[in-house]
Amino acid sequence: MDLTNLAAIELGRWIKKGEVSVREAVAAQLAAIKEKDKIYHCYITVLEEEALVRADEVQEGIRSGKYTSPIAGVPIAVKDNICTRGVRTTCASKILENFVPPYSAAVVEKLWQAGAVLIGKANMDEFAMGSTTETSYFGATKNPWDISRIPGGSSGGAAAAVAAGEAYAAIGSDTGGSVRQPSAHCGVTGIKPTYGVVSRYGLIAYASSLDQIGPIARNVSDCAAVLEVISGNDNRDSTSAPQRQYHYQEAIKNGIKGMKIGIPADYFSDGLDKNVRDSVLFAAQLLREKGAVVEEFKQKTAEYAIPAYYVIACAEASSNLSRYDGVKYGYRAPEKDLGELYKRTRSEGFGEEAKRRIMVGTFVLSSGYYEAYYNKALKVRAVIKKEFENAFSNYDILLGPTAPTTAPKLGESLQDPLKMYLGDIYTVAVNLAGLPAISVPCGLDQNGLPIGMQLIGRPFGESDIIRAAYNFEQAYRFSARYNIQNKKEHIENI
């Protein structure tokens, strides 16, 4: 059998039992990458030698009892905006093409301590700005379900790698949906945790008040296991929540009888694709059958989330990305004059989308516009947060689609950035409010492309959404029904 088809904690169990060695698992993974990444281009950097050396070290660690986590020995991909000591971390940008950080991100350290094997650095939209992974300086990643389509973004490389069998699990980052939307488009599961649950130390910032690292995996249990490993307080990140450890795998064991699930009616308005709508409502019905109380409610702020999100995210980005000036590291244009050095380095080093957002952000923070844009966006953010709070006084979790459509064709989205931004309609509000949310696959559309359902929890309510998602997963059995290999059959069946 093909080892790379196993789920992450399943492989972990096999390794622990001695049925497969870490080296065998890593070698199988590397072979799969070698074969498939020519097609999908999920990785910017593959850690071939490092992973094999690490495999032996982990094997010994498992024997000696140093590594006991469920993901010990499991090959995992990390998005290329997460710093890895000694391994270049590019943010998929020319400006950081050769940046090798002298430190690892907190999540990378935690994965290391859990005995995971870092297999490669996953492709992404440049500086996580985009919903397609096409803005990568290193070229687009393709959707394993249909290579004429985008995998979603910005963690498109990570989601595609998990879907294509190029990684057992991956670590992405989610600023406005960047974990959930590619998970939806690639038919995998992804969690955006509550802001503060996972340390941002070592995550190269896009929009600091919205960025949150999260896991992507082939099922809910794997996601819960990985999230359990990477979460917890870190005193190097002042915005990190105080709790030292979280236990998510526990949640899976329980049912959802009596769980109150709210469906924001506005999420099912005109812009939503019919296939997506039907699949998500079918999923809601399944949850009802499992004992949850599901009802619709009105959420009024949905339409304001996108403008508020883009104003805040771009403002923070314009400041966060100012440090890439050619003076200290990264790309530097050969100029003598300081002003010219700045101009040319940044003009040549950043791609179009990054430049667009830097300019928007600079504009909304400029004196004379701050009140009208940035400050207003902060007020909208507070209102959105408040509305979610109200909703959570009535419901345990909220349910809706992750994205309004399935994966678009390559090249389609970037022609109309505004339309691309509107694709984030269901995901950005969650970041503005700092809430946890999970995307789970809930069907295929008429083209055989995966559809994702989003479950949103109250602050630190990861256990609720994980439990609901797991119950749904068990009832629906997406991976048993559908897989990439026999896609044609699915289409005929739909």
């Binding site: 991100a105 400041s319 003076v327």
Partner: protein
């Protein structure tokens, strides 16, 4: 000229004396090879995050309390964005919207009397690096050692009207900071720098005139000169029907003049916005109370205690407390030898004289209390006299010598043996028979000459009182 008044407000930047930087664990030590006191955080490498040094907050709060400010309980940091190679993140973490202290003031005293100078706000921020031009390679190098060193900026109200008031305010402020131990306030090293906002207006006018901001003064004297020059320049402009341009000017102390740096109108837009990498800072009543409780004795209290506890005159107490270093030295020495008046004398007379001679600031004093105590002990026990002691003191002050060793090596111990003293008197009488005869003949002022000769014979190493008595005794013997 007389019909104009000058309006001055100050922005004082103070480097805090924390051991580590404001957002990372790097040392704040001055000096050090370029780029050795920095790490990924203070160099703003991608992915790093700032973590606030609690001590910085405590120092800022302590300063606010000592200057009668209100403490902002819910306080926040903001980003000030601008591109410059000495600023590795291309933004400075500072405070604009919610500075830590507001609405305070301190009382100053000048020949014109007492007056309160308002403090508009105090905010915390990080220092930037330093650019060094390399003429050999014709390029500019960056040293990030100072990056992230904690600063507070103390912004006064435009309440000062003269050089005297400005200097009194700065001296008072500096003393408070030094007494609190929050900064060493060394102007030369840049740990205490003041920018002057100055405008002029007709006396009695309600509106302020257009102001300029003056930078780059590294001593109180330079500040005084810069103010004199700037008020003269502005009054002359206004008198001749011209107008003052709002601008930042750079003081050139060597040439005693200033020149415009850049106009404020086309000044950079700093695009301030709340720093998302730092959680809002909640300062509880308890924390403020704790900081207040730890507040060290400030100058006024110290002066009163000196008068009461050590029976020192008010004037002396004032001088002794005019610098934290001096006051510490005084107390530590008294602690060892228990002679407040004697210690006070050495500090007020000899120490002050030597400070003047060397042009040193009291804060730079290297004098160790143990050594001054030993010296006083040596005088008290009659081992050396005051003339010798002064010589030894100067050596201690300048070279930090060991007083006992020095006296031994130089043979400065006083001759105590009566026989040796008497022999010396005899030798002097022998050589100066005529003078002795003159004395016996009634010329009494020769007595002083004989005493002086004897001291000389003893190379000054004798108790003058004792020599005096022995000469008298010897003369009486001659009469008989």
């Amino acid at each position: 000229m007389k019909s104009y008044e000058t309006v001055i407000g100050l922005e004082v930047h103070v480097e805090l004396a924390t051991k580590t930087k404001i957002f990372c664990g790097c040392t704040t030590q001055f000096g050090g090879l370029p780029n050795t006191h920095c790490c990924p955080i203070c160099m703003g490498l991608p992915g790093t995050l700032p973590v606030l040094n609690k001590k910085v907050v405590e120092f800022a709060v302590a300063t606010g309390l000592a200057t009668n400010c209100k403490i902002t309980r819910h306080c926040k940091f903001d980003r000030k964005n601008y591109f410059y190679p000495d600023l590795p993140k291309a933004y400075q973490i500072s405070q604009l919207y919610y500075p830590i202290c507001r609405d305070g003031g301190i009382e100053i005293e000048t020949t014109a009397g007492k007056k309160v100078i308002g403090i508009h706000e105090i905010h915390m921020e990080e220092d930037a690096g330093k650019l060094i031009h390399d003429p050999l390679e014709n390029c500019t190098l960056v040293d990030y050692n100072r990056c992230g060193v904690p600063l507070i900026e103390i912004v006064s109200e435009p309440d000062m009207r003269s050089v005297d008031e400005v200097i009194a305010y700065l001296e008072k402020l500096r003393l408070i900071l030094q007494y609190l131990g929050v900064s060493d306030c060394k102007m030369q090293e840049g740990s205490f720098r003041a920018d002057i906002n100055l405008s002029v207006r007709k006396i009695g006018a309600e509106e302020f005139g257009t102001r300029t901001e003056m930078k780059n003064m590294n001593s109180f004297k330079a500040i005084a000169r810069a103010i004199e020059a700037e008020q003269k320049r502005q009054i002359e402009l206004v008198c001749c029907g011209g107008s003052v341009v709002q601008e930042t000017r750079r003081w050139d102390d060597g040439r005693n003049t200033s020149f415009a740096m850049r106009s404020k109108e086309d000044a950079k837009d700093y695009r301030y916005f709340p720093e998302p990498d730092l959680a809002a800072l909640e300062i509880s009543e308890e924390w403020i109370a704790e900081i207040k409780a730890r507040e060290p004795e400030l100058r006024e209290a110290k002066m009163l205690r000196y008068e009461k506890e050590y029976k020192i005159p008010e004037y002396d107490a004032k001088i002794l407390t005019s610098s934290k270093k001096m006051a510490d030295l005084f107390e530590e020495t008294v602690e060892i030898c228990g002679r407040p008046k004697e210690v006070s004398n050495w500090l007020m007379v000899e120490t002050m004289r030597l400070l003047r001679e060397t042009g040193m600031d009291a804060e730079e004093l290297l004098l160790k209390p143990e050594k001054l105590a030993v010296l006083i002990e040596l005088i008290d026990s009659g081992k050396i006299n005051r003339t010798v002691a002064k010589e030894v003191f100067e050596k201690i002050f300048r070279e930090d010598i060991d007083p006992e060793l020095y006296i031994k090596e130089k043979g400065l111990l006083m001759v105590q043996d009566d026989r040796l003293l008497k022999e010396a008197v005899e030798r002097v009488f022998e050589r100066n028979k005529q003078s002795v005869a003159d004395f016996l003949g009634g010329k009494e002022r020769v007595f002083g000459f004989l005493v002086g000769q004897t001291m000389k014979e003893l190379k000054g190493k004798a108790d003058p009182g004792k020599v005096n008595a022995l000469v008298k005794e010897a003369l009486q013997n001659h009469i008989r």
